[in-house]
């Protein structure tokens, strides 16, 4: 389980979060309220103070990369470092099966990333983030650029992830999605208003 206490990042916080396996915390708030910053802080990509514990392991105990192998940040605008999607996966042999889950043609794996549509890239990034089964997924608007069919498929994948014992912190602007997934909610206000879990 995830336990966050007194988490402060930049001018935001303090945040208190507690999350059990299979649960989803929905983070809502206007743009500029620090939603992405909170997720980045949880993944230790931004400097933050406070306690963050995963299954009784404090983040300071493990190295940054080890922490991020358990706590996976999925950016709203996923980044790419190689030519094709295939090179971004640890197990290229399993790509065909996982691509099928989100209606992505297997040929897409060897097309240049720059030729993929925004929606295709977003789905590939979701698969990439879930590839090695992180303990906690921090998803920043994971379905923002998708059509209805793709949204359904992606949500199904996220539901399976939760059912298998995963934890999810979800930033979304869709109240429908928030209602469907959220077992708890964190509402963020404008700068330094702080947030209150419920």
């Amino acid at each position: 389980m995830l336990k966050v206490a007194e988490l402060r990042v930049l001018d935001f916080g303090p945040y208190e979060i507690s999350l059990n396996p299979g649960e989803c915390l929905v983070v809502a708030g206007p743009s500029g309220s620090g939603k992405s910053v909170l997720l980045r802080a949880l993944a230790d990509l931004n400097i933050s103070s406070g306690t963050v514990m995963l299954d009784d392991v404090a983040r300071e105990i493990v190295s940054g990369p080890e922490w991020r192998r358990m706590v996976r940040y999925l950016s709203a605008e996923p980044g790419w470092w190689a030519e094709t999607p295939k090179e971004h996966f640890k197990h290229p042999d399993r790509i065909a099966a996982s691509f099928a889950l989100l209606d992505l043609a297997p040929e897409l794996a060897i097309r240049p990333v720059s030729e993929l549509s925004t929606g295709e890239r977003q789905r590939v990034a979701l698969l990439r983030a879930l590839e090695d089964n992180p303990v906690l997924l921090l998803a920043d608007e994971p379905t923002a650029a998708l059509d209805d069919v793709s949204i359904k498929k992606s949500e199904k994948l996220l539901r399976q992830y939760l059912k298998a014992g995963g934890m999810l912190i979800l930033v979304t602007h869709s109240s429908k999605q928030a209602k469907a997934f959220g077992t708890s909610q964190l509402k963020l206000g404008r700068k330094s208003d702080g947030g209150s879990g419920s």
Binding site: D44, I47, G64, P65, S75, E77, G79
Partner: protein, 266 residues
């Protein structure tokens, strides 16, 4: 050795050619006539000063005086690295990284050159040590400035890709691999090109100088080849030191990407 000595009237004759630049500036209203005059004057004053300093240092041929001049040269070159970068690290690191690469690579190569290659008597003979150091530093300076600039510019440009790798649990070393390689490659390209082109496109400056001073061409070529290898080694070493320290500074103990440590040149 025999060479034609230049008198003050010979220099004045050469200086008339700068009027061509001035006329072009005025005719096309480029507005650089003033800058041009100042630059030309600076060149004369600076070179004259260097000439007299070197004459004095050569005459003394003392170790500590030579070392002092050498350190001053490297210190100034360090500032030049900083001024050539679009982005640099904030605080002392902005100067320190380039300067430490210059000092370590520069003086290691100089010692190597003096003790094992040129072998003058004494080994620090300023007439050899200072010009050789000047050539080494000038080239390390270019390489380090290019390497650091490439590293910082690509770190900013590739931010999304680098952070995606970090977010997936890769180490900083893996995540920064691409920009480090880019930086090293960019830093080493000029000397590789210079080696390939030398003698065909242009006669290297030092060799030209020696030939004008009356050295037999094949002798001058031998010096040039030795210097080219020294420069190649020195630039590679300097770029490696600078890029590795900079890459270390771009990250922290949690292996994050720390772009907040970079500032734009004001």
């Amino acid at each position: 050795m025999n060479y034609v000595s230049l008198g003050i009237f010979d220099l004045a004759a050469a200086a008339t050619l700068i009027l061509i630049n001035g006329v072009i500036s005025l005719f096309f209203s480029l507005g650089i006539a003033r800058t041009l005059a100042v630059s030309a004057l600076r060149m004369c004053v600076q070179l004259a000063a260097v000439g007299f300093v070197l004459r004095y240092v050569f005459a003394q041929s003392a170790f500590w005086l030579t070392a002092l001049i050498a350190i001053a040269m490297a210190t100034i070159a360090g500032f030049e690295i900083m001024s050539r970068q679009k982005f640099r690290f904030s605080g002392f690191w902005g100067y320190g990284i380039g300067a430490s690469a210059l000092f370590s690579a520069g003086f290691m190569t100089l010692l190597f050159a003096m003790i094992l290659v040129v072998r003058p008597e004494p080994w620090y003979l300023p007439r050899y040590a200072l010009p050789v150091l000047g050539m080494i530093l000038g080239n390390i300076l270019t390489a380090v400035a290019l390497g650091l600039n490439t590293l910082l510019v690509s770190a900013r440009r590739e931010r999304a890709g680098i952070e995606a790798r970090l977010a997936l649990g890769q180490s900083w070393q893996q995540a920064s691999n691409g920009i480090v390689r880019d930086a090293l490659l960019t830093a080493m390209t000029p000397i590789i090109n210079a080696m390939a082109a030398s003698g065909i496109v242009a006669l290297p400056g030092m060799m030209t100088g020696q030939i004008l001073a009356g050295v037999e061409p094949v002798e001058a070529v031998k010096y040039q080849i030795a210097i080219m290898f020294l420069i190649a080694g020195a630039t590679a070493l300097g770029a490696l030191i600078a890029v590795l320290i900079a890459s270390y500074r771009l990250s922290d103990d949690r292996q994050r990407l720390r772009l907040d440590r970079i500032v734009r040149k004001s």
